[in-house]
Amino acid sequence: MTTLHIVRQSAFTSDDFAQCLQVLRNNDVIVFIDDGCYNLHHSLINTIDSAAEIQLKVIEKHAKARAVTIDETQYSVINMSNLVELTLTTNRVITWQ
C-alpha cells in the first residue's frame, strides 16, 4: 500500500513533517505544497533513506512564489493536476498540516 503524503507546513515551525517521516514506508510519495516548500532545504530531507525509494515532488508555482530553489535531481516538479492524478495512483492520502 503506497501512501501519498501531502506536506503543507514548514518543518522550521511545526513538527508535522518530522511526524510524516516517522510513518514513511518504502515507495511512498511526498508532495510539498504551500509552506511545505520550505522543507526542500531542511536537514530532515537528509534523513530520508535513499534505499526506501521515496518519490519527492513539489508544486512548482508554490516553490517559485516563495523563491525556493528546486534541485531537480532530487525533486520532481509537478502542478496541481499531477497532484490530483497522484491521489488516484496511490492507495491512500495523508495530509500533514
Binding site: 511526524q19 510513518v23 514506508r25 491512500r92 495523508i94 500533514w96
Partner: protein
C-alpha cells in the same frame, strides 16, 4: 459472494487537548465510526500524546472536558489504541494514561500499524 474485508480507518491525533478543537473533533469522528461499527483505530503522535495523560481536568480552565468521554471507547468497540513511544520519551511522559488498553509502539511498529489502515484522518 464472500463478504469483502471491511476498510480499516485510522484516526491520527497530533494536537494537544484544550487549546484547539482538534482532539474533540477526532473524538467525535471516532465515536461516529464506532457507532456505525466501522473498524476504527486511534493513533496518538507528537503533542497528541498529551491527550492521554492521567489526572487532567479541563474544568479548572473552564473548558468542557471531552477527555472523560474516552472512557466510552469500549462501548463503541474502539479497542485499538496506539501511542508513539518516541513522542512520550521526547515529552518526558510515562505510560500513565487515563484509559486502559493503550499500546505503546516503537516508531517502526507505529508506522507498520498505521500502514495497514485504508484511510487515515489526521487531526
Amino acid at each position: 459472494m464472500t463478504q469483502p474485508l471491511p476498510k480499516l480507518t485510522a484516526i491520527l491525533n497530533s494536537k494537544a487537548p484544550y487549546s484547539s478543537t482538534a482532539g474533540k473533533d477526532a473524538l467525535d469522528i471516532a465515536l461516529i465510526f464506532g457507532s456505525f461499527e466501522q473498524p476504527t483505530s486511534l493513533f496518538f503522535q507528537g503533542d497528541g500524546v498529551w491527550q492521554l495523560s492521567q489526572g487532567q481536568d479541563g474544568t479548572i480552565i473552564s473548558v468542557k472536558d471531552y477527555l472523560k468521554t474516552f472512557a466510552a471507547f469500549e462501548f463503541y468497540d474502539l479497542e485499538n489504541i496506539y501511542v508513539c513511544q518516541q513522542s512520550l520519551i521526547q515529552r518526558g511522559l510515562t505510560a500513565d494514561f487515563h484509559i486502559e488498553q493503550v499500546q505503546v509502539l516503537a516508531q517502526k511498529e507505529f508506522a507498520e500499524k498505521l500502514a495497514i489502515h485504508h484511510t487515515v484522518l489526521r487531526f
